[in-house]
């Protein structure tokens, strides 16, 4: 394979020196970009877009054509995995994802098996290959998946939930059944991420969106244990290159020590965490990714620049920081604000790497 022209993301995730702090943004391909909305319209629906390797490639590249980003991230959805298990993913406009056949009892759980990354999920591995080819070595491609617990939230609740009543009832009352789902999910995500790596993903990220809603004890047992299992089975090298892994639990600020112990290369931080304090805690073992409040992007240029500088200053000089938001870009963000952010990261971080 071709050598990367810009390897700052990979180097930072491995805590190696870089000339500046690399930056990419969660949901950098998405509804805040007019060109994304055009492609989505062309596709007919979000799912049709996600399931077309050609269109997924198109939207993955869109933010890179506008901004000086240091990485691409596969355009897809975390729920492709349970969809491929046969749960029937669909989207209700303005209300988020739903499943036609949620898992509510042992009989339903007995029917699910890990999907074949080259079978039902072939459209994803094909998209990864196509994007990697289109990138032509310019920047690395990040693959991703949802965490086993986060996937289970949607699989059991049947959609997003305000209080996660159904899955928590299962967790407290039928823990063995939830463990069975999580085992299947962990196996599925491991195979899925390793297939993405084989198809061309140069780093992988596990999104644990809902683990932060668990009690500390339940988080360790029902979310982090399965993330750890995945991390330990990920390909750490492919085609002669190290493949770094990133683990992100939204709301996981009090569990950073435990997350760092999973064996991942980098820990994602949401905006509530002090990145300087996090570096003191775990920065000798892992790289850190984050963590600007996405709401900052609704501010004027000078405020965005100041807040970017504050995050960089809080992390401090040296390697091991990948700049990102603390959560995804919201659709109401102006593209010009993203431009301001990306340029400010490069401008302000260079002196920290001198």
């Amino acid at each position: 394979m071709k050598k990367l022209k810009n390897d700052t993301l990979i180097r930072s995730l491995l805590r190696q020196p870089t000339p500046y702090t690399p930056v990419w943004l969660m949901r950098q391909a998405g509804r805040y970009l007019p060109e994304y909305n055009l492609t989505r319209k062309k596709a007919g629906s979000f799912l049709a877009l996600a399931k077309s390797p050609a269109l997924a490639t198109e939207v993955t590249l869109q933010p890179l054509n506008r901004f000086n980003l240091d990485a691409a991230i596969l355009f897809s959805d975390i729920l492709t995995v349970p969809d491929a298990m046969g749960l029937g993913l669909y989207f209700v406009e303005g209300e988020g994802p739903r499943f036609e056949r949620p898992l509510r009892d042992a009989a339903a759980v007995a029917k699910i098996v890990p999907p074949d990354p080259y079978g039902e999920l072939r459209y994803v591995t094909d998209a990864v290959s196509e994007i990697r080819k289109a990138l032509d070595g310019s920047v690395p491609l990040i693959g991703f998946a949802g965490s086993p617990y986060t996937l289970a939230c949607y699989m059991v609740e049947g959609g997003a939930s305000a209080d996660f009543r159904t899955i928590k009832s299962m967790l407290y009352s039928e823990p063995a059944l939830l463990h069975r789902i999580l085992e299947i999910n962990a196996r599925s995500v491991t195979d899925y991420l390793n297939a993405q790596i084989q198809a061309g993903a140069q780093a992988v990220m596990i999104f644990d969106t809902w683990g932060g809603n668990l009690s500390h004890a339940a988080y360790a047992e029902f979310s982090l244990a399965y993330i750890q299992r995945i991390v330990s089975e990920l390909r750490r090298e492919y085609d002669g290159a190290r493949i770094p892994s990133i683990v992100f639990t939204k709301g996981g600020g009090t569990w950073l020590e435990a997350i760092a112990q999973t064996g991942c290369d980098a820990v994602g931080l949401d905006w509530t965490t002090d990145i300087g304090k996090a570096r003191k805690q775990i920065g000798d073992r892992v790289a850190l990714q984050g963590n600007l409040d996405p709401a900052v992007l609704h501010s004027p240029t000078d405020v965005i620049r100041t807040q970017v500088a504050n995050v960089l200053k809080s992390y401090g000089p040296g390697s091991g920081h990948v700049f990102n938001l603390g959560h995804g870009i919201v659709p109401s963000t102006r593209p010009e604000s993203v431009q301001t952010l990306v340029d400010a990261v490069h401008e302000f971080s260079a002196p920290l790497h001198a």
Copy 2:
């Protein structure tokens, strides 16, 4: 005033020995109780219920008639304060509170002033007096208010919000304007809580429901600084008795050290925090209140008992713990489950105080 028959709450909040761990529950008077729903129906609306001292007294006492709780908490709403400022509080069924006239610019902010606790908020101080009288020294009465930042969220957004876009835009782009609102709120809450103390509240709690959504730096500047200002101006004694204060920031698990430094007597913990770890961090300075996951109450009896035991065990032996949930009781909770919880706390905690 009469001596309290059951002073375990007050003693625990002051880290003095008690024969068992006292327990009360956030939203212990509420929609999970059929008798509450009857009273609410009689009142016609939630606001009519909250604004009638007689009916507020009735619903405050309802859970105490059922369960062996160690405290009563004033039945009211955190939004009485901005309502009394003239913002026009109303409720949309199933969608939560709204304000008719949210604060969006300097002109609107210039018009608000701290409400008179004995004027527009007289119905609250009257309710406190009436409840205190009705309790007849059986258990202490807790008064409460929302934190200045949490109140501002509703005042600026005009209701609940998924991403707090409007207030965060103000925070990042017009911080001086938000500070002006927070100053007025801090003054209002201080006067309001001191009036509740004078009317009979024997402990007070500040609910910071949304501070946990801020970045660590913004939390310190826009939420905790104003909570600290209130705590420093609260009456610490009234009628010969110490009046303990409790500060609760939902999602504030990474900021416990800072919260403990406000001068409050106790820190509330949500269920994501390990109460044993929190005790090691700050238990030499403050009492801890919490922190069972409210979702546990949807489980069978034996699971509730085990999970109660786990929280007590995590805190460990000795004084300084007030048992509570990590957030409010959800309406779908069975009253029998609350009975199980309260009895389990008393049963399992007695040996820890031997």
